[in-house]
């Protein structure tokens, strides 16, 4: 289980490094959409 636990956390860290930077549209607050 320790191997799985370390592997899970390492996977997340690796995904953060390859995750896109601000390519999507704003999804949460309509007012922010309007202001933008």
């Amino acid at each position: 289980m320790e191997f799985l636990a370390f592997g899970s956390f390492a996977l997340l860290i690796a995904l953060w490094l390859v995750a896109p930077s601000n390519k999507g549209e704003i999804v949460a607050i309509e007012e922010v959409k309007k202001a933008a």
């Binding site: 289980m1 320790e2 799985l4 636990a5 899970s8 956390f9 997340l12 995904l15 953060w16 995750a19 896109p20 601000n22 390519k23 999507g24 999804v27 949460a28 607050i29 309509e30």
Partner: protein, 409 residues
């Protein structure tokens, strides 16, 4: 009184206070997610249930759930209005604390469970129908299932089902009932054709944070003593919540291109849900895997629900129904008698039968909650319309149901 342990009693009463806070916290978590014309009505759902079930539980809820067993199905009426539930301990449930302390701790679980369902029918349910539904549901669904799983003589407890703090009793019952309620009530007016956005994400993050805080009482308090098992439950609860928040945020980042704040909040709640049944039986490595699973599975479940055009407004089924199911099954996978000597091992520790028992418990609770919720809603609808009229829905529930406004600025 010689059996009463002051440390255990203090911890259990403190835990009951922590769990009590979770219900108004849920109101804020949900309140931020709805449009501002419905925020008071949404918060009122949780606050009202805190009051309603506090009275229902002492009058008849507690005895139905924990009273002397009748056929493994329900508790008897021996403890109606708390007759015989006093300051002395009950050896079956909590031998070192006053029976009333155990009763009030359990009350807070009975309070928050129907409050969870309210997220599914937010922004369209008539207040009167909500009141009647909550009272009947707490009596005919929550109390029997609590007895099956936790009551002495309950059939799932006798079968050996493991549910430390309410994965089946609280989260599967509420999550499945939420899905049924969403289907019976139908979609909100304008959904899909006009923007329906959370009106205050900060309120939701605050609500999620307070839920997380209260969850330490929910899970660590379920040890019923102030010892090592409570400490383990505390640690795995925090770990799974954190891991699920990180995972949900990451999956949504990859899916939608940005690390969502609301996603991190929902992920934390999903992790808390999933670790709930397992928190007294698993170690911290298992908690990390459970959190990873919760963040991924619950996120995918919500995408599927939306694709199927089910208007579970605040994703109660995806977080609580699916998260509770994952947690109950994960308990059958990862349970360890090294963590809790009173428990059996799970599959990875050499006992595959435990996973089968967990499957039976999950299936039975899903089926019962779904059928009963459907019947209750249909019967109520014969006397009180479940939905508000269309013009009231457009006006908003704060004005149409409560004649109040949340914000004057």
């Amino acid at each position: 009184m010689e059996n009463i342990n002051s440390g255990d009693t203090a911890w259990l009463l403190a835990s009951a206070s922590l769990v009590m806070l979770m219900t108004p916290a849920l109101g804020f978590f949900y309140g931020g997610l709805v449009r501002k014309k419905n925020v008071l009505a949404t918060i009122m759902h949780s606050f009202f249930i805190l009051c309603l079930i506090s009275v229902q539980w002492v009058l008849w809820g507690y005895t139905l759930a924990f009273g002397p067993d009748i056929g493994g199905i329900i508790g008897g009426l021996d403890w109606l209005a708390l007759r015989g539930v006093g300051m002395l301990p009950n050896a079956d449930y909590a031998p070192t604390v006053p029976h009333q302390a155990f009763m009030v701790f359990q009350m807070m679980f009975a309070v928050i469970t129907p409050a969870l369902i309210t997220g599914a029918f937010a922004e369209r349910k008539r207040f009167k129908a909500f009141v009647v539904f909550t009272l009947i549901w707490a009596t005919l669904v929550y109390a029997p299932v609590a007895h099956w799983v936790w009551g002495v003589g309950g059939w799932l407890r006798m079968l050996g089902a493991l549910d430390f703090a309410g994965g089946t009793v609280v989260h599967i019952t509420s999550g499945v009932s939420a899905l049924v309620a969403a289907l019976v009530l139908g979609r909100r007016k304008g959904l899909g054709s006009e923007p329906i956005e959370p009106h205050d994400a900060t309120m939701t993050v605050l609500g999620a944070s307070l839920l997380w805080f209260g969850w330490f009482g929910f899970n660590a308090g379920s040890a019923i003593n102030a010892g090592g098992l409570a400490a383990n439950a505390f640690v795995v609860t925090n770990t799974a919540a954190a891991m699920a928040a990180l995972t949900w945020m990451t999956v949504s980042w990859l899916h939608k291109g940005a690390p969502s704040v609301l996603g991190a909040s929902a992920g934390a709640v999903a992790g808390l849900v999933a670790i709930t049944p397992a928190s007294g039986y698993v170690d911290v490595s298992s908690a990390i895997v459970i959190g990873l699973g919760a963040g991924t599975i619950c996120y995918l479940a919500i995408q599927l629900t939306r694709r199927l055009r089910v208007d579970d407004a605040l994703d109660v089924f995806g977080v609580h129904g699916v998260g509770g199911t994952w947690g109950a099954l994960a308990t059958g996978l990862f349970a360890s008698s090294a963590v809790n000597s009173a428990a059996t091992n799970g599959l990875i520790n050499g006992n595959p039968a435990q996973l089968g028992i967990q499957l039976v418990a999950v299936a039975a609770v899903i089926a019962y909650a779904a059928v009963m919720t459907f019947v209750i809603l249909k019967v109520i609808n014969l006397f009180v319309a479940l939905r508000v009229p269309e013009q009231d829905e457009v006006l908003g529930l704060d004005a149409s149901q409560h004649r109040e406004a949340a914000y004057t600025i």
